[in-house]
């Protein structure tokens, strides 16, 4: 245990964790930002912060979890700052998912993977981020509210909107009523 504790102060051990876990961190950030550069920046931000606090970690799992969380927070922050899409400035309530033309024309079985992704992309940034943070990352509603700089009520509303859109899209794809 003592060896483990000491090892985090060594760059090689730190780099080893990076090699092993970076794909997960990067993909988590990429899902949040939808921008490879922002995702890479978010991971780097988390890595440098973790390096500065390396003596506080008691094992690889703790270090990796911490970096993962900080990277996600950085990704949310970077996305918020970028604001490339004007509609993100407006009320997300006003932006419902674009209507799907018809189930038979829009979806085919070969396109399952693509349409699953498309379903997620029909969400606004806020809805997508909140859905991913809750459903995939397992964050608590209050943690999401803090990170996205909103309140729990707004988080719930965005989550429910996201779920509604995803449910409708997937039902259409499956040809369900």
């Amino acid at each position: 245990m003592l060896t483990l504790l000491k090892s985090w102060a060594e760059p090689d051990a730190f780099q080893a964790v990076l090699n092993e876990r970076s794909v997960r961190w990067y993909n988590a950030c990429l899902r949040i930002t939808r921008d490879p550069d922002l995702a890479a920046d978010a991971v780097q931000d988390a890595l440098l912060k973790a390096w500065n606090r390396r003596d506080e970690f008691r094992g690889e799992a703790e270090l990796s979890t911490w970096i993962h969380r900080i990277a996600l927070n950085a990704a949310i922050d970077l996305t918020r700052r970028r604001k490339t899409r004007a509609e993100e400035e407006l009320d997300p309530e006003a932006f419902e998912a674009p209507p799907t033309s018809s189930a038979e024309s829009a979806y085919t079985s070969e396109a399952l993977g693509r349409d699953m992704t498309t379903a997620l992309e029909r969400l606004t940034n806020k809805e997508r981020q909140i859905f991913l943070l809750k459903h995939v990352e397992g964050w608590r509603l209050d943690e999401i509210a803090e990170s996205t700089q909103t309140n729990i009520g707004s988080v719930k509303n965005a989550l429910f909107r996201a779920v509604h859109k995803l449910r409708v899209d997937l039902k259409l794809w499956r040809g369900e009523s």
Partner: protein, 238 residues
């Protein structure tokens, strides 16, 4: 009446009062149909969230490793005494960085004289805090310039491989701070930071002869920048 939203919050074990949780739990136990509804809903959401993983771009991996290497070098170098460095080329580079740091200090001081400057600012990702109103951005920028100066001073001891890695890390940081400066509405600062990059690349590749005139030009620009900053001109018009 139990809605899908209620079911989902029950599944997440979050956002419901205790009595509401108990009511839904009892309903799920008593009504298999309701349990199936929850199962179907979660399965659909799992499917929507199950995106394939993509590999990390090689250049991003390299950048992260370089940044960590750079941080490790700074950690090791921090308590060590400053080494006298004799290469005219690197002395000029260090002078340029110092001039930029000085110019920025004056500039930021003129912009917000009430803002205190932390003596030991934490390492910040400029991309994550790129705002003219964010003191972390200023601290990070000043830290970057100061650490660049230190790293340039230690390059003489480094092996060619380590030197290349260090310079790459500096360039990477420079790129991010240039981006941050642009986002913060300081295009002049971004330009100066970017113009430093090719000189660093020359250093990494060992091309000393092409750097001298560039360094002189940068120093000249820094003097103009400082003079105008002293005169109170906004950065965008420099």
């Amino acid at each position: 009446m139990i809605t899908d939203d209620d079911l989902l919050l029950y599944y997440y074990r979050d956002g419901l009062e205790a009595d509401e949780r108990a009511r839904i739990g009892a309903a799920l136990a008593a009504q298999p149909e309701l349990a199936r509804r929850l199962h179907t809903l979660v399965a659909r959401l799992d499917a929507a969230a199950a995106l394939p993983e993509v590999p990390v771009p090689e250049h991003s991996q390299q950048r992260w490793h370089a940044a960590l290497e750079s941080a490790a070098v700074q950690t090791r170098a921090a308590p060590a005494p400053r080494r006298t460095f004799t290469s005219p080329r690197w002395l000029a580079l260090a002078a340029t960085v110092t001039a930029i740091a000085l110019g920025l200090t004056i500039y930021q001081g003129m912009k917000r004289p009430e803002t205190p400057i932390a003596e030991n600012p934490p390492i910040e990702s400029p991309g994550a805090s790129a705002s003219a109103e964010d003191p972390a951005y200023e601290r990070g920028l000043k830290w970057h310039l100061a650490s660049t100066e230190r790293q340039l001073a230690s390059l003489g001891e480094a092996t060619p491989e380590a030197r290349a890695r260090l310079v790459e890390a500096i360039i990477s940081q420079n790129r991010m701070y240039a981006l941050a400066a642009e986002r913060a509405g300081e295009p002049q600062l971004a330009r100066v930071l970017r113009s430093f990059t090719p000189i660093l690349q020359d250093v990494a590749e060992g091309k000393g002869e092409t750097s001298a005139s560039d360094i002189a030009q940068l120093n000249f620009e820094m003097r103009i920048m400082q003079a105008r900053l002293k005169a109170g001109a906004p950065s965008q018009t420099l």
